[in-house]
Symmetry: C2
Subunit: 224 residues, 2 copies
């Protein structure tokens, strides 16, 4: 009996386009982040803070992924940054083809950094390579300390974790030590930052790390 | 050219099993809730509060859906309630077949109410009928007031919405009026409750509504 592996074929198509995206990003020297979290963990606010921190030194672009509305792209555009909104309709994650199509909207020659804000979802976005340099996660302390072990894949694949809304810690039952201990058991190399994006605290370490990563990529591309 | 509609066929298989589940629930007189939300909105804590409110009057059972771990089933079992844990592996939602298999673990003759806690995800769980009587949503105020319009399907299909963690309202920028106004534009019949499940406030209305719905089903089955 012949078995047709449909799932494998679909994944390969996604991966092929992700590979194309990666080639484009490298050719144009663009550093690309894929920002993932549950709904409401603070992705768009982190993005706004990151824009404020980087926009004097780098040319930035943003791709916003949402099931519906263009609220997030409007928030980003208000900072004077080019933002393209993708509405996925029913889909709970972004896919490489959506990114490929969105890239046609950017003047890629002038772009240093592209930040992709994925659909709010702690499961599926981690499974889809978009061609990015680094997956970044945000976890809000209000989501609870049990999340790393309950949703391990995203924590395993991310390069940095931002533990956000730490200003609410006095009012809730959540230990960031427990979160950090659990994420280290899944991903010992994960870089961790504790922030309040609305109160603008804890963001210096994030800025420095990001600048290092951007410069590291620029340097490595020059040496090719 | 012949088009093969794979998606439709898969959905039909899910729907067929959901239909079987529904028949079983009706035959045994079991009222079934499908509890959905983002990760960390408070599903398990609401479940614990609901058990405390109902366990003297009804025989309860719980099915816990998680990508990984059996933490939630352990929390529920500690209340002396039978809980079956489903680990979905990679899947970001529960499906009717998983519920069918889990039902084999229950003494269905003695069950009045079954509460299914879905995987934490604001998108896909809404798309999969499990055979339940009512979909119930929890939205934490910490997730932000923009969520109903950004993730409309789940709000549209739910029978009741619990706006949770209202004890944190003094410390964040979120208007429950705005949430209620937006959900009413999507689903005018949605029943809304404002609670703090950890502080045990606002739960009376939820208890009364639930008792009414359970008794309504019991009554309608008697008249068949």
């Amino acid at each position: 009996m012949k078995q047709i592996e449909i799932k494998k074929d679909i994944l390969s198509a996604h991966e092929m386009i992700a590979c194309e995206n990666r080639k484009l990003f490298n050719k144009k020297g663009i550093f690309v982040l894929n920002l993932m979290s549950s709904p409401g963990a603070g992705k768009t606010t982190l993005l706004e803070r990151t824009i404020e921190l980087l926009k004097n030194n780098f040319n930035l672009g943003v791709i916003e992924g949402d099931v519906a509305t263009s609220y997030d792209a409007e928030r980003i555009s208000a900072h004077g940054i080019k933002a393209v909104q993708i509405n996925t309709g029913g889909a709970c994650h972004l896919e490489s083809t959506m990114i490929k199509n969105a890239m046609a909207e950017f003047a890629t020659e002038r772009l240093d950094v592209l930040i992709i804000e994925n659909v709010g979802n702690l499961v599926c976005p981690a499974e889809f390579d978009l061609g990015e340099d680094a997956k970044i996660m945000i976890l809000s302390v209000t989501e609870g300390e049990d999340k790393p072990l309950k949703y391990p894949l995203m924590f395993r694949l991310s390069k940095a974790l931002i533990i956000n809304k730490v200003d609410l810690l006095p009012y809730i039952d959540c230990s960031t030590e427990r979160i950090i201990q659990d994420v280290r058991s899944i991903n010992p190399d994960l870089k961790v930052f504790e922030t309040s994006c609305t109160k603008k605290t804890g963001l210096n370490g994030w800025k420095e790390w990001l600048q290092e990563e951007i410069n590291k990529k620029k340097h490595s591309l020059k040496n090719v």
